[in-house]
Amino acid sequence: MNLLDTLLRCVAVLVVFLVLPLVIGQTEHKVMAHMQGRLGPMYAGGFHGWAQLVADGVKFAQKEDVVPAGADRRVFQLAPAVALLPYLVVLLAVPVGPHGLVGQAVDAGIFFVLAVMGIGVLGSLMAGWASANKFSLLGGLRTAAQLMSYELPMLLAAASVAMAAGTASLTGIMDAFHWWWVPWQAIGAFVFFTAGLAELQRPPFDMPVADSEIIFGAYTEYTGIRFAFFLLSEYGGILVLCALTSVLFLGGWHGPLPDSLGWLWTLLKIFALAFVVIWARVTFPRLREDQLMRFAWTVLIPLALLQLALTGVIKVAISQ
């Protein structure tokens, strides 16, 4: 792998990271609007308001960048970057198609993606503490508590796939995939996706940013471009979660079409999952904080352990 190749891959990942989250954001506007029987943004750009997110971005960039007087300046300003960058780095390791169509094949891929995704939460924590605002602090606390509870089932579910494939590398998992893994790992897929939603603080697990209770949680004091970074990190998180779920549990680039069109399958699965994420936001009411914890410890973790046991038993049975 020479320098030019590496550079090209990095640029490609960057472009994907800059484009797809915006597409998901625009889809969210439209899908939510139609599910709620309204139009959504219709004017910006002409055709069905396609340029609304661009207009939003311009608005965010023009706004004054305010740092509260009592805040810890440096930590406050650093927090959005800490929240956003991990998702970009994770995207580097997600295989999109066969024959090395991946930013960088990482040997311990599962560990890499889950570890780096966990760092993003530090951004929310920093924002929550540095804002010098009680609502922000409460939001930060809830974020930390939620991460603590939901990281474990997510890891266990991912470990189940690694056991099935006999490797922790994402490209290795893709190579070992068979279609019957989908029903085999279905429980794990549910646990992984749900725990991922909770880690991204998406509804119905959005207690940390519950706007009717604590304004906007850790992001209350942010305006302008830094606030836009937090929003972008949320959409980037959706992209990463959907990509990981489709790679680990839905077979990524495997599909009826020839291998050369594998990336199309990946994209299709990612967007189908992103639709589900938006759907869940419109459908479910927000959980209460104690219900949230209860759900993680009494439902998701037992389910993940069950999936691990199931994977182990079947793995031993078929290797006989």
């Binding site: 560990f111 570890a115 209460r288």
Partner: protein, 220 residues
């Protein structure tokens, strides 16, 4: 040293190379090491509590980079997952639960700091002496794949199973201990069960004398 690790790591032959012509990786290794040292010093000297935790993030992340430079990829990601993703988040959570003020906390200084410094220096001296004495001028060739998941897993579960399991028993004991301590010593007072909506009691009814107005709930 296990045979598979030896195979992966190459020979332990004495150095045929000098220390005066370092490669690029070695230079980066030293620079990152200095950054880790600086961040660690800031962690213990800063007067702002939360800043100490954030500097700890930098120090632990730098350590992960050092592991990567030594081609111990698996250990590096586990370091990020456990220490950055969980331990530091837990530390920040704890700090936020207490009064973690923005700005300096003058009462954060401990009177023990000279003793702590002495202990830290003694520990560091012991460890450095040990490592230097153990390896002296031997040269481990860092071939690729020596720290891969497969190599680490094989040596962990083939040669080091007993220590590994002993450690997990220790962690289990710690877990049980934590549960016992957090149960507050008295099993009599059952905590209210979380997650269920309870019918609110009428505010006017005194809780100590329920028998005087027994039919309040039916009337409502």
């Amino acid at each position: 040293m296990t045979s598979s690790l030896l195979l992966a790591a190459g020979s332990l032959a004495p150095a045929s190379r000098g220390f005066l012509s370092p490669t690029g990786v070695e230079i980066v290794f030293v620079l990152v090491g200095l950054a880790v040292l600086g961040a660690a010093l800031l962690t213990v000297t800063t007067k702002q509590l939360v800043h100490a935790a954030l500097w700890l993030v930098v120090a632990l992340g730098g350590l992960a980079v050092e592991f990567l430079l030594l081609t111990a990829e698996f250990v590096a990601w586990v370091q990020v997952l456990i220490y950055l993703g969980s331990v530091v988040v837990l530390v920040l959570f704890g700090l936020m639960l207490t009064k973690a003020p923005i700005g300096r906390s003058p009462d954060a200084d401990s009177g023990n700091r000279w003793v702590a410094l002495g202990v830290a220096l003694a520990t560091a001296a012991t460890l450095v002496t040990l490592v230097v004495d153990a390896f002296r001028t031997s040269w481990i060739d860092l071939g690729s794949g020596g720290g891969s998941t497969a190599a680490v897993g094989a040596s962990l579960f083939r040669y080091w199973v007993l220590p590994f399991e002993a450690l997990s028993v220790l962690l289990l004991a710690a877990l049980v201990g934590a549960v016992v301590i957090s149960r507050n010593g008295k099993g009599g007072t059952a905590a209210p069960r979380a997650g269920k909506l309870r019918t609110p009691r009428p505010a006017t009814r005194p809780a100590t004398r329920p028998s005087t107005r027994p039919s309040t709930r039916q009337e409502r």
